[in-house]
């Protein structure tokens, strides 16, 4: 039996979905679109196997965005490869039925078997909302059940009715009379909904006092921004500080594993492949897992509590100036840690165009992997001088690099808004601010579990194959016997580096830099170790200081500045590109991201190098 969950945003659809299916969930994308397809399964008390899909939240069946088109098409049975639902469950927040009742009236016209689920019924009762369920069912002409998704056994009624309905099957299919509603049609259904509500539901005269009290502080023009900054500060701290011990542990574990392979196997290709290709390659991606879990913990908590919509409200005008949605704020901030969780976090943005813009600019936020490269070059080339008595020149350059990243992200977003994606109706900021609700540990845990699983699956497939490719390029062909130079200098990576050298000459890069950029595709900071390898310095990352001293003698200041400018954009991160490909479901947007970042990196380095040379730093 196939069930589909439909409901307005904030109706508690996801917590009901989690309550029904537990961890038996599969998250994927609908083919060809950036819309998340969440499917799960459960068994009814009578032993019937049920598959359930959680459709994107919507206020109507008009299909004003790709997400809402999916909902409409699945309900109407128009999606190829998607089972026609035997029963549509329309989920409603019982404290807030007005908009859902209108949606139920519209869903009824599709002729699909339909049931209204009054979710969060306990909260509604506590607030003094009383619903005459039999009369409501009669007035709507559809079965109505109550549920408390977050409580054990809170879905018993729903499961029992599902069994009853499936026992009556086959239900004589009614005709689909649905057609896109005109403005007059919408208005008429809302009037009808208001009439039904007046006859069957009594509402308390006062709104939820807790929500009003919290909002008085949280949406206050001054206090609200201070609280937002505070939340972000804690989140940032958590991502950097709390994740660090775990990341070190993972990193040490992978190094130890690599060492074990190194010691057990005889020196040779297999040893190198397992240690440098497989273990260090996959390891360099999996170390991000703690950061991803912490970011999603915060995002899911804030989302379930109802704060995310408030953050969007506070940031809307500030972000809107650059053509970004208020909700893009958190994903972009996460990208300062790493673009991978940042891009994954863009799922909180409903509108496809807004989400795509955010994905495209997220890699421009200075991620933590650039820091080793920045610190290496800055400490080697920029004197630690005080300017004006209190500003450190090195710190100023670092700040400038961060600022340049943010400025270019805003600039790119602005360009996208005005020149690209014009076929898409822009989404004006219109958002329901739901009542605050206590987040539930179970639902949060399921959310984190699904994200972590997705990330690991990705690390196991796309990212892994890229890592193997990069290892191959850096290892083959093998150096001739008796070779004195580092092995990488004889590899395809060196050949590609030397072939690219003429192209990179105008921006001041020598072939050694070009070679180092190739393993740097695995993760940006690997370029530091790779530079060490190319210049035949033993000791890898630990020898960063030594690498710096060597670089200071081999490169001009102009070359160093040019490399810094390149790393503001650093288009070469394979993991980021793989995640973009996965999240947008298209190679095209991955290619677009790579191409535009490459172009910006080249242009910035070209300008930096030539200006620096002209000023005598060449």
């Amino acid at each position: 039996m196939h069930l589909a969950l439909v409901g307005t945003p904030n109706s508690g659809k996801t917590s009901l979905f989690n309550a029904l299916t537990g961890s038996r969930q599969k998250v994927a994308n609908y083919p060809g679109v950036t819309v998340e397809r969440k499917q799960g399964s459960f068994v009814t008390p009578l032993g019937r196997q049920v598959s359930l899909v959680d459709l994107p939240g919507t206020y109507s069946l008009r299909g004003r965005s790709p997400d809402e088109e999916i909902t409409r098409d699945v309900v109407l049975g128009r999606t190829p490869g998607e089972a026609v639902p035997d029963l549509v469950l329309c989920v409603a927040d019982s404290t807030n039925l007005r908009l859902t009742i209108r949606l139920v009236l519209e869903l009824k016209s599709t002729g699909r078997p339909l049931m209204l689920v009054l979710n969060m019924f306990d909260i509604a009762t506590r607030r003094g909302v009383t619903v005459d369920v039999p009369r409501l069912s009669e007035a709507l002409g559809v079965p109505v059940v109550t549920s408390i998704a977050v409580r054990k056994g809170g879905t018993a009624d729903l499961l029992r009715r599902t069994d009853e309905i499936s026992a009556q099957a086959p239900v004589p299919l009614r005709q689909n009379l649905w057609q896109p509603l005109t403005v007059a049609g919408l208005r008429a259904t809302q009037r009808e909904a208001d009439r039904i509500i007046a006859a069957t539901i009594s509402l308390p005269t006062r709104p939820d006092t807790w929500t009003a009290r919290i909002d008085a502080v949280v949406l206050h023009p001054v206090a609200g921004l201070v609280i937002l900054a505070l939340i972000l500060f804690v989140m940032f701290q958590a991502v950097f500080a709390w994740a660090q011990p775990l990341m070190d542990l993972l990193s040490a574990g992978f190094t130890a594993l690599g060492q074990l392979v190194h010691d057990t196997l005889p020196a040779g290709l297999l040893q190198s492949f397992l240690q440098n290709g497989v273990i260090s390659g996959v390891g360099s991606v999996i170390v991000f897992l703690p950061q991803i879990i912490i970011i999603f913990l915060f995002i899911l908590l804030l989302e379930d509590f109802g704060y995310m919509a408030r953050a969007a409200f506070l940031m809307d005008r500030i972000m809107g100036g650059a053509g970004l949605h208020g909700r893009a704020f958190i994903p972009l901030l996460s990208s300062f840690a790493c673009a991978i969780p940042g891009i994954m976090a863009t799922r909180v943005i409903d509108n496809r165009r807004d989400r795509l813009t955010t994905i495209l600019i997220a890699p421009l936020m200075t991620c933590s992997a650039r820091i080793p490269v920045y610190t290496l070059i800055i400490s080697a080339f920029i004197p630690a001088r005080q300017i004006g008595g209190w500003v450190n020149l090195q710190g100023l350059v670092m700040f400038g690099l961060y600022a340049a990243g943010i400025a270019s992200a805003l600039g790119v977003s602005f360009v996208i808004k005005f020149f690209m994606l014009r076929d898409y109706a822009p989404a004006p900021f219109m958002l329901e601010l739901p009542d605050y609700k206590m987040p539930r540990a179970g639902s949060i845990a399921i959310g984190i579990y699904t994200r972590a699983k997705m990330f690991l699956q990705r690390a196991g497939t796309t990212i892994f194959s890229m890592m193997v490719l990069i290892w191959f390029l850096a290892s083959f062909p093998l150096p001739p016997s008796g070779a004195t130079d580092p092995a990488i200098n004889y590899s395809f990576a060196a050949m590609i580096g030397k072939a690219l050298a003429p192209l990179l000459m105008p921006i001041g890069f020598n072939w050694q830099i070009a070679v180092a950029l190739i393993p740097g595709m695995a993760a940006r900071e690997v370029a530091v170790a790779a530079l060490g390898t190319v210049y035949a310095i033993e000791g890898g990352k630990e020898a960063a200081e030594q690498i710096g001293q060597v670089l200071a003698t081999k490169w001009s200041l102009a070359t160093a500045l040019s490399l810094l400018a390149w790393y503001i954009f650093a288009p070469q991160c394979a993991s980021t590109l793989a995640v973009i490909r996965r999240e947008t479901g298209s190679w095209k947007w991955m290619a677009v991201t790579f191409a535009y970042m490459l172009a910006l990196a080249y242009a910035a380095s070209l300008a930096t190098y030539n200006i620096a040379c002209a000023l005598g730093a060449g």
């Binding site: 403005v183 919408l186 208005r187 909002d215 506070l314 809307d316 005008r317 009542d435």
Partner: protein, 93 residues
């Protein structure tokens, strides 16, 4: 609410001009006057889907930081955030 505010002769105005604390009743939707990026039909449809229909009670609960924009509006028992530009389409009294 004082008796003068309940007066039917209360002047009509767009919700987009209302300040924090304003409360009133929706008179009509005039989507073509709003200057939104959306077409008039689309804007009107979205507003109705969020519950902005004639006769609904509205109250401006909060204002944004920059230019007092966007605004958080209580519509019956739902709170909706909209930009003032889109709220210009909602004529209240």
């Amino acid at each position: 609410m004082t008796s003068t505010e309940r007066n039917d002769a209360r002047p009509q105005m767009p919700l987009g001009l209302a300040r924090r604390g304003y409360s009133g009743v929706i008179h009509r939707i005039a989507a073509s006057d709003a200057g939104s990026a959306l077409s008039a039909v689309e804007l009107e449809s979205r507003l109705i889907e969020l519950g902005f229909v004639e006769g609904a009670r509205v109250e401006v609960l909060h204002e944004g930081v920059i230019g007092r924009d966007p605004i958080a509006v209580r519509v019956e028992n739902v709170t909706i955030a909209v930009r003032r530009r889109e709220a210009m389409a909602i004529i209240v009294a």
